[in-house]
């Protein structure tokens, strides 16, 4: 198990990477948390760790927050959620991540 890295460095790393990704974002989120209480009971919150776009963040005050604008549409979050608590869909047609290189 790796020790948690410096949270600030990690946030700046992903911010930098996401700044290179083009998005055509829709005004509405295509992702939703079904029940915040379930996230509060969840111990590991693997969605936060595996998401390559740092879409998910958890705090005691806010619960699980979803920054759908950073979503790379990989689908990892819903697969690791053992409570099936993420309502996952693709963004509406024509919207979302817009890869130039792929």
């Amino acid at each position: 198990m790796t020790l948690p890295t410096n949270a600030h460095a990690s946030a700046s790393l992903i911010e930098d990477k996401l700044s290179k990704v083009q998005f055509i974002n829709h005004a509405d989120s295509h992702l939703a948390v079904r029940d915040q209480q379930t996230c509060r009971r969840c111990v590991l919150r693997p969605c936060v760790d595996v998401c390559p776009g740092a879409v998910y963040d958890y705090s005691n005050e806010e619960g699980l927050s979803v920054a759908y604008e950073n979503c790379l549409e990989c689908g990892s979050c819903k697969i690791v959620c053992e409570f099936d608590n993420i309502e996952w869909n693709y963004p509406p047609g024509g919207f979302g991540v817009d890869y130039q290189w792929g």
């Binding site: 198990m1 790796t2 948690p4 890295t5 990690s10 790393l13 992903i14 930098d16 990477k17 996401l18 290179k20 990704v21 083009q22 055509i24 590991l44 693997p46 760790d49 595996v50 998401c51 390559p52 776009g53 740092a54 790379l72 549409e73 990989c74 689908g75 990892s76 697969i79 690791v80 099936d84 869909n89 693709y90 963004p91 509406p92 047609g93 024509g94 979302g96 991540v97 817009d98 890869y99 130039q100 290189w101 792929g102």
Partner: protein, 432 residues
């Protein structure tokens, strides 16, 4: 919308466009629905295009397709924190000419758009920027069309080429919910570098490409890997590992990617590269005995949506194209045989099984078994192999035979004779 086609293809990736191209050439009315605003906008891969199937579809692709470099150098290494043991480094001029020239690096945005254009020229109707929301069934339960945000489209047959997440295959019960041990996540960065620097660093000519693959430390010795692939004036750098391994390691995927880029045996290859894009995608590492149902009443599943991925040899695009082609041939036969019946589509499965697609999926079962049963398999094997090589070639005051015997003894302390024989057999079975 509200139209009726003989066939609807969902997804304009390699599987979807191979299907659309083949259908159009056979005179079948086909519509392709693509959720990206253009084909390619949503697609990510390593990305080596293996062209065995493309060559049959569009023999002149070498002159026409937006290819990056022809892969003539293939290199596989084991990485520990501070050592690299290259186990294969093959460069051969034979890979630059027919019949062996069949691996190219590509930019998926450009390539997928070109392939879609070819299918469009052949007569397929592409509708981009439309998300397929649901499959529609007729009163008898047969799938008879697709519901989109723009309305309904009906068809005799729907071919699902909607990628690894295939929400539609799941919706109609052709596949179960994925588990994190059967799906890998790949994250990738594209770095720009001058062409000359790429050629010097990878020891390739102007028209040649290289593929460097790594096992070990970059993915914390899980059964995943890392890679560097040369494009014209960019490099693709990525790491791939199972979601279950990623959760256990407690490290973020972009941190793994960054560590790989900064590995002492890697960083100089990338030095000065300017990041152009960051991307992510999942890989369906289901394995032959966990594949989804590939045919249903009125529906066929292809490519990543069908779990057609060779995890041993890292092939996907060619399996996608082959399955798209076979789904199209099956669909085209429906009309010749006098219309659709519930048994019309069974031939698809048979065709896949008679081809390299399912034969290779079956051969890879040994690897899937190791991933299932022994997630720590690579940890011990890789570290012991690198340690043995390092010890064996170290120059000391000991005579050579003693030095090598001592290295071997250390290696053998982790593997008994029986274990060693088993591992050797297992490794052989993985590739044969």
């Amino acid at each position: 919308m509200g139209a009726k086609y003989e066939c609807i293809v969902v997804g304009a990736g390699p599987a979807g466009s191979a299907a659309a191209f083949t259908l159009a050439k056979s005179g079948v009315e086909v519509q392709v629905l693509e959720r990206g605003h253009v084909p390619g906008a949503k697609n990510v891969s390593g990305a080596i295009l293996y062209t065995n199937t493309l060559n049959n579809l569009i023999p002149e692709f070498r002159a026409e397709a937006p290819l990056e470099r022809s892969i003539v150098r293939q290199r596989y290494s084991l990485l520990t924190a501070d050592a690299e043991l290259t186990i294969l480094d093959l460069s051969a001029a034979a890979f630059k000419s027919k019949p062996r020239e069949n691996a190219f690096s590509i930019n998926r945005r450009k390539f997928d758009a070109w392939f879609a254009d070819k299918a469009g020229e052949a007569g397929a109707v592409y509708q981009s920027g439309i998300r397929a929301d649901r499959l529609i069934r007729d009163p008898a339960g047969k799938i008879c069309g697709v519901e989109t945000s723009e309305g309904r489209v009906s068809a005799d047959v729907v071919i699902l080429a909607d990628g690894a997440n295939s929400t539609l295959a799941k919706q109609v019960g052709l596949r179960k919910r994925f588990t994190p041990d059967k799906v890998a996540l790949g994250v990738k960065e594209t770095l720009s570098l001058p062409r000359g620097a790429i050629e010097d660093r990878f020891n390739i000519e102007a028209d040649e490409g290289a593929s460097f693959k790594y096992l070990g430390e970059p993915v914390h010795y899980s059964p995943g890997g890392a890679y560097i692939l040369t494009n014209n004036d960019t490099l693709s750098i990525g790491v791939v590992l199972r979601l279950s391994d990623l959760s256990v390691k407690g490290v973020k995927p972009y941190e793994l990617l960054e560590s790989f880029k900064n590995h002492p045996r890697v960083r100089r290859l990338l030095d000065g590269g300017v990041s152009q894009e960051y991307s992510a995608h999942i890989l369906p590492e289901l394995g032959y005995d966990h594949l989804p149902q590939l045919t249903g009443d009125g529906v066929l599943v292809t490519g990543d949506a069908a779990g057609l991925l060779n995890v041993v040899f890292h092939e996907g695009i060619n399996l996608a194209m082959a399955s798209g082609l076979m789904a199209a041939l099956t669909t085209a036969a429906v009309r010749e045989n006098g219309g659709y019946s519930s048994t019309s589509l069974k031939a698809y499965n048979k065709m896949l099984h008679e081809s390299f697609v399912m034969k290779d999926m079956k051969s890879a079962m040994g690897f899937h078994k190791i991933m299932e049963e022994r997630p720590d398999y690579f940890d011990k094997l890789l570290k012991s192999a690198v340690r043995f090589a390092t010890d064996a070639v170290s120059i000391t005051d000991k005579p050579k035979n003693e030095q090598i015997a001592s290295a071997w003894k250390t290696f053998r302390s982790s593997y008994g004779w029986t274990a060693l024989a088993k591992e050797a057999f297992r490794l052989w079975r993985l590739v044969s």
